[in-house]
């Protein structure tokens, strides 16, 4: 076991897959000579060359569209979007092409495609560069949406995404790149579409993913000091969504808080709480609570921005409400 950062985990996953399979290549803005705007592909250009680490124009439709087309020919592109906010410029290709071509043509086209994108707020980038619109993309059948919260999961899930024959949107939270964690040695893959209990507990179920996991773990530590043991279920993937560990946990604790960084309206919390009510209504002992971003375009000012983002104290307060 090595202790590495999320950035290193993601980088290693791509590096190892590119060494393993010559059909895997990277394209995106500043992925090559620059080394990646978040330094995830540092060193790749020198090692793999410009054919396999392709700098693109600033043209998101061309990036995603070309990735789709090349995937249809049997290549395994990893398209990097500098941020998920730029995905809106490629929305048609993600939603109308990547998510639909396999189905719409009767299964003829394969799309072994990964779209990596940085998501999340908290870096004082203003409203257009700070969104967490993960749930938007999870809306569409045909896409797989993965968003890990630990280095171990990031590496194993990204490898699974690269080996998958389906289009996968892989969301990396901007403020998690420096987070460190234990990662197994050697080659390993974590299957897409499996939620995981990241912390066992008996009093309340916290359902979360990505940045929400970091916040929830801190909240759980604080709660433990007050005699409350929270069980944390990490979704890891929004589509396909694995509810089994959530329902199993809820049937034990009978109380749930859902923590997400996106807006509450029509979001992950809405989906999860609705499914708990549908699948485990008889086990509900308290109304399910949601912790999320306040319904405002994120402001630049640090104090204002942090006040709009979910915090550890918000999770602790929500848990106390449901107890």
């Amino acid at each position: 076991m090595a202790r590495i950062t999320m950035r290193e985990a993601i980088s290693q996953a791509m590096w190892e897959e590119m060494e393993r399979d010559p059909n895997v290549f990277i394209l995106g803005e500043e992925v090559g000579v620059w080394g990646g705007s978040y330094a995830v592909t540092k060193g790749f250009y020198d090692h793999f060359g410009g054919e396999r680490v392709r700098d693109t124009p600033i043209a998101e439709s061309a990036i995603i569209g070309a990735a789709i087309g090349s995937a249809m020919t049997g290549l395994r592109p990893i398209a990097e979007l500098m941020t998920i906010n730029f995905a809106f410029a490629a929305m048609d290709h993600i939603v109308n092409e990547a998510a639909k071509l396999h189905y719409m043509f009767g299964g003829q086209f394969m799309l072994p495609l990964v779209i990596r994108a940085v998501t999340g707020g908290g870096r004082q980038l203003g409203a257009t560069h700070s969104q967490t619109p993960d749930a938007v993309f999870a809306h569409f059948p045909g896409l797989k949406v993965v968003s890990p919260g630990t280095p171990e999961d990031a590496k194993g899930l990204l490898k699974a995404a690269i080996r998958s024959n389906d289009p996968v949107l892989f969301l990396e939270h901007a403020t998690l790149y420096q987070v460190r964690g234990e990662v197994p040695d050697g080659d390993y893959v974590i299957p897409i579409g499996k939620s995981k209990v990241q912390r066992p507990g008996k009093d309340v179920t916290i359902v979360t993913y990505s940045k929400g996991l970091e916040i929830s773990m801190k909240a759980a530590e604080e709660l433990a000091g007050q005699g409350v043991e929270a069980e944390i279920v990490d979704l890891r993937c929004l589509r396909p969504l694995d509810m089994d560990p959530v329902i199993d946990s809820f049937k034990k604790t009978n109380r749930a808080v859902i923590v997400e960084e996106g807006w509450k309206s029509f979001g992950v919390g809405a989906e999860i709480s609705s499914r708990i009510y549908e699948q485990a209504f008889d086990f509900v002992d308290a109304p399910i609570r949601r912790v999320s971003q306040k319904e405002v375009p994120l402001p630049y000012n640090r104090t204002l921005e942090q006040s709009a983002l979910p915090q550890v104290a918000d999770v602790v307060a929500a848990v106390k409400e449901v107890l």
């Binding site: 124009p57 569209g65 249809m72 049997g74 592109p77 290709h93 189905y103 009767g106 045909g142 579409g193």
Partner: protein, 320 residues
């Protein structure tokens, strides 16, 4: 062009015409649903173009795709069955009129979002270049698609990466009901290739041989590694944009004038005048095409509906 090839091109054009005429009837009878865009009048474009490709060359087009599907070698049975939404359709009844494809025939679809398939074409070409294959990707689109951002992003990328793509603009003068002059900054679409440093040519799209010759030259030039290139093929659709088009934007006299240049009539006259075929031989082809369409209609009508339990098949390639 040898005699047999000429006869085959004539057959393909007549087959497309008859198939779409029957399609229009079946649409009016309520047996075909959704949107349906007829290629009638434009048959010489894809017929000449696709005759000029080699088997390793990929074809991708927009939603007016029945003719392209036939030219690429999809059987009229599978096209008609797809129009009727049957399980035996080329896309298993999932795609309909606008979404036909056959990977085994190197036909990569029928795409219904205007211009969105142009970046895909760049990707298809990248696939061949990356693998060191010598295939050319032939990407067809209407002149209306040259005003959307996808067109410009795709052409730019294809030039920057020297991708083997032949961009083929079918200029039928109308984007739905809006004329080129009202929608495009330049009415000669080939000028747009200049902005991306590409060679280009304008071709008479009512003459299948002219299309064939220009396409052959352009495809082989792209194959030689000289980078992407563009053809602007001048054509005209005799029918409305789609089946639900009241055609308020053009006069019947204009349509009639273009119908005098019917690509099938033009080619028929050429073959007779130049003694490439007898009137009798061409009549026989007309009859064969009509019979093949009749068989396709019977096949499609007799084919089963897709089973309800297949509804969720193929959302993903892998089990989820």
């Amino acid at each position: 062009m040898d005699k047999q090839t000429s006869l085959d091109l004539y057959y393909q054009m007549v087959l497309i015409r008859r198939l779409e005429e029957r399609g229009a009837e079946l649409y009016q009878a309520g047996k075909i649903g959704g949107f349906m865009h007829l290629y009638i009048g434009q048959e010489a474009v894809s017929t000449g173009l696709i005759a000029a490709r080699r088997p390793q060359d990929r074809v991708i087009t927009a939603y007016r795709d029945h003719g392209v599907a036939i030219n690429c070698g999809i059987s009229p049975n599978q096209v008609m069955a797809e129009l009727l939404g049957k399980a035996t359709g080329i896309s298993k009844g999932r795609g309909g009129s606008m979404h036909m494809a056959d990977v085994t025939k190197n036909f990569w679809g029928g795409h219904a979002i205007v211009g969105a398939h142009l970046p895909l074409a760049a990707g298809l070409a990248l696939g061949d270049k990356y693998a060191g294959r010598d295939g050319v990707t032939i990407c067809m689109f209407g002149e209306g698609a040259t005003n959307i951002g996808f067109f410009h992003e795709a052409l730019n990328l294809s030039k920057v990466w020297t991708l083997p793509v032949l961009w083929v603009c079918e200029n039928n003068m109308y984007g739905m009901g809006t004329t080129v002059g009202r929608a495009s900054a330049v009415s000669e679409i080939q000028q747009k290739a200049e902005g991306y440093g590409m060679s280009h040519a304008r071709v008479d799209g009512m003459n299948v041989l002219a299309v064939y010759e220009a396409a052959k030259k352009a495809i082989e030039a792209v194959r030689s590694g000289s980078g992407p290139s563009m053809l602007e093929i001048m054509t005209y659709r005799f029918r409305g944009h789609s089946m639900g088009d009241p055609e308020r934007y053009r006069k019947q006299e204009e349509v009639k004038k273009w119908e005098e240049q019917d690509p099938i009539g033009v080619f028929h006259a050429y073959m007779i005048t130049n003694k490439k075929a007898s009137a009798k031989a061409l009549d026989e082809i007309d009859e064969r095409a009509a019979a093949d369409v009749q068989k396709a209609v019977e096949f499609a009508e007799a084919s089963p509906e897709p089973a309800l339990e297949t509804l969720f098949d193929d959302i993903y390639a892998e089990e989820v």
